[in-house]
Symmetry: C2
Subunit: 158 residues, 2 copies
């Protein structure tokens, strides 16, 4: 099971992608029904990991640091939940040998779960936020809408 936190993170990123503009924490929190202070931490974490950028002060807010079709589910999950692998000894970002199994190469359990891990990565590392919402970025059809919003948009800071 993925954590609630990871789901919040994904929902926030989807919201930001749809908005096609920066949004304030409070705005995302209300729209997505996410506890505001919890969302703050999540966004901060995503910022520290180069997914989003922010701006402080009165016209502050968060925005994507890259187009939605470059943000994979796998990357977000690894930031928020840690390893995606079903066993520590199969993790790429946090490999840890299993203390008990003698020789990793012929561990029956590892062999089976290696196939699970591969299947999971096959989906998570190939599916982006853009795939999830069903379009790329920037929205080509929304050119006029974008132009209108650009007046109000302010540069964000990584």
């Amino acid at each position: 099971m993925i954590s609630q936190k990871a789901r919040y993170a994904l929902r926030a990123l989807i919201a930001l992608s749809r908005a096609n503009n920066s949004m304030m924490i409070a705005q995302i929190a209300e729209e997505q029904q996410i506890p505001r202070k919890f969302l703050e931490q999540i966004l901060l974490d995503l910022k520290h990991n180069g997914i989003v950028a922010s701006r402080r002060g009165r016209l502050g807010g968060y925005g994507l640091l890259m187009p939605p079709d470059q943000i994979t589910f796998g990357r977000v999950l690894r930031i928020v939940d840690g390893p995606v692998a079903p066993l520590p000894c199969l993790s790429r970002i946090a490999y840890r040998r299993c203390t008990d199994c003698k020789t990793e190469a012929n561990c029956e359990i590892r062999r089976v779960f290696a196939r699970v891990a591969e299947a999971v990565r096959d989906v998570l590392d190939r599916t982006t936020i853009a795939d999830a919402i069903g379009n790329g970025w920037p929205e080509i059809a929304g050119a006029e809408k974008n132009a209108e919003k650009e007046k109000k948009s302010v540069p964000l800071q990584a």
Copy 2:
């Protein structure tokens, strides 16, 4: 990540399959380096779920209730760890609606993880203990060895 408990369960079942005979808890615990009292609980749980059978008293022990090629990883994991699905709303054994998402049918996150769930089940529900150890049961080649052991073997109780 799957739990340590699930790994112990799988290892115990692999040991029982290899032994091709009933084993005492203490025997499995020592061989597999599993805390004995913890293993007791696990085996009891597997017994309550029809995977293994036991016999009490002096010549007691545990044995498989079905051939290893009929015990899938998925079944064991669901008994020991609960749902295999990445989201409650994708679980077959413990479905729970996500409180927050309005309409399940067009939840972007659910759509993506449905593909993950399918991929995971594809491996876990098709892979058996026999697959993991690389042979079926009973061992056709071990006919004489089996006959020898049959003298000592005692019927187990489901």
